[in-house]
């Protein structure tokens, strides 16, 4: 088995890796979106007040 740039394992695990990548990207988007909405609706008002004090 020669050493090549594109190893067979890359193709074999491509679906799995792409899936994990998409899940992580979705989690980041979700948490970011949730933060924006929470700040927008004033849900973090108390926490912001505490920091300001």
């Amino acid at each position: 088995m020669s050493i090549v740039k594109e190893h067979e394992i890359h193709n074999r695990r491509k679906g799995r890796n792409v899936g994990v990548g998409l899940v992580l990207a979705a989690a980041i988007a979700l948490i970011f979106g949730l933060t924006v909405v929470k700040i927008g609706t004033g849900d973090f008002g108390g926490a912001v007040q505490d920091v300001q004090n």
Partner: protein, 314 residues
């Protein structure tokens, strides 16, 4: 040469992303998502759409996590039963340790983020649901008592209550009614399955009612629970949760459900064998439609009341 073929064979059985996803029991998740969705939207407190979406997602993830933990603990039973033998662990795709790690990590993620997105009552209920399904049902009741499905059914009944709690921050009579509807629906649904998945539970040594009390007794139990469910479902129509659409749906669905239960009760094993459990299979399918339609009707009435098209009954 044999090393190389072993090497290739192990690759062929390597888990793909779908195998990890299958650990979350996607079909069960569909029920969790829908009932939690109804609980969230039927609640009188409006929720920001994105927060609502996140809440449903986290409830679904919590349900999926408990499914992974169930597969981790029940791998020995799953390998014996035809219905479950192709699940990722008995199929050799995913190891028990991986399933355990995914279940624990997803449980923590789902509970913490549901708490942050909505409130800690909803998060606490989700944590309790996961614990109930994994510890009370999977580890304890399932292998111990024929009442496993009856008591364990509570785990599947919590999602609409969690959805309601996520929106309102409280648990009210309406949330308890939605819990009771799912709770009463679960035993006839699973007992019908146990009737036509004949030897599965016997082979696995799971004390289902069909194994411990016999199949005739199971048929009687299905009828009794269906009558109780019908009373509860139709009675719910006259509470603040119900409305004209729900009443109509409840009357039609419960008539069909009761007819199916009576048909099952009147049959014996010879009759069922003769047509390959046709009535039991169609009752099982009907039970799935029943729950989705009943909760769908609740949702329609909630929208109609909110839109001012009907006044609501309280």
């Amino acid at each position: 040469m044999s090393d190389a073929s072993d090497f290739n064979a192990s690759y062929e059985n390597e888990a793909q992303f779908g195998d990890y996803f299958a650990l979350l029991k996607p079909r069960v998740m569909a029920l969790v998502v829908f009932t939690a969705f109804v609980g969230l939207l039927a609640a009188p407190t409006p929720v920001h759409p994105f927060v609502g979406f996140c809440a449903i997602l986290f409830i679904a993830l919590g349900g999926g996590a408990s499914g992974a933990l169930n597969m981790w603990y029940d791998a020995d039973i799953d390998a014996v039963m035809k219905r479950t033998a192709r699940r990722p662990i008995p199929a050799g795709k995913v190891t028990k340790d991986e399933a355990f790690a995914i279940g624990i990590a997803l449980s923590a993620f789902a509970v913490i983020f549901l708490g942050l997105a909505t409130n800690w009552l909803a998060a606490g209920l989700l944590a309790f649901t996961i614990m109930f399904y994994v510890v009370i049902y999977t580890m304890w009741l399932k292998r111990w008592t024929p009442q496993n499905i009856v008591i364990g059914g509570a785990a599947g009944a919590f999602p609409p209550m969690i959805g309601w709690a996520a929106a309102t921050g409280t648990v009210s009579v309406e949330a308890i009614l939605m819990f009771c509807l799912t709770f009463m629906w679960t035993p006839p649904h699973f007992w019908a399955l146990a009737l036509f998945m004949r030897s599965d539970y016997d082979d696995a040594g799971v004390p289902m009612l069909t194994v411990t009390h016999g199949r005739a007794s199971t048929r009687k139990h299905i009828l009794v629970y269906s009558v109780l469910l019908a009373g509860l479902a139709i009675g719910t129509a006259f509470t603040s949760l119900g409305g004209p659409v729900y009443l109509t749906a409840a009357l039609i669905l419960n008539t069909l459900f009761l007819k199916g239960a009576v048909d099952i009760w009147r049959r014996d094993e010879d009759m069922s064998e003769a047509d390959n459990f046709k009535v039991e299979r169609s009752f099982f399918k009907l039970s799935l439609i029943y729950l989705f339609a009943l909760f769908g009707a609740l949702l329609i009435d909630a929208f109609l009341v909110r839109a001012g098209l009907v006044g609501g009954w309280t």
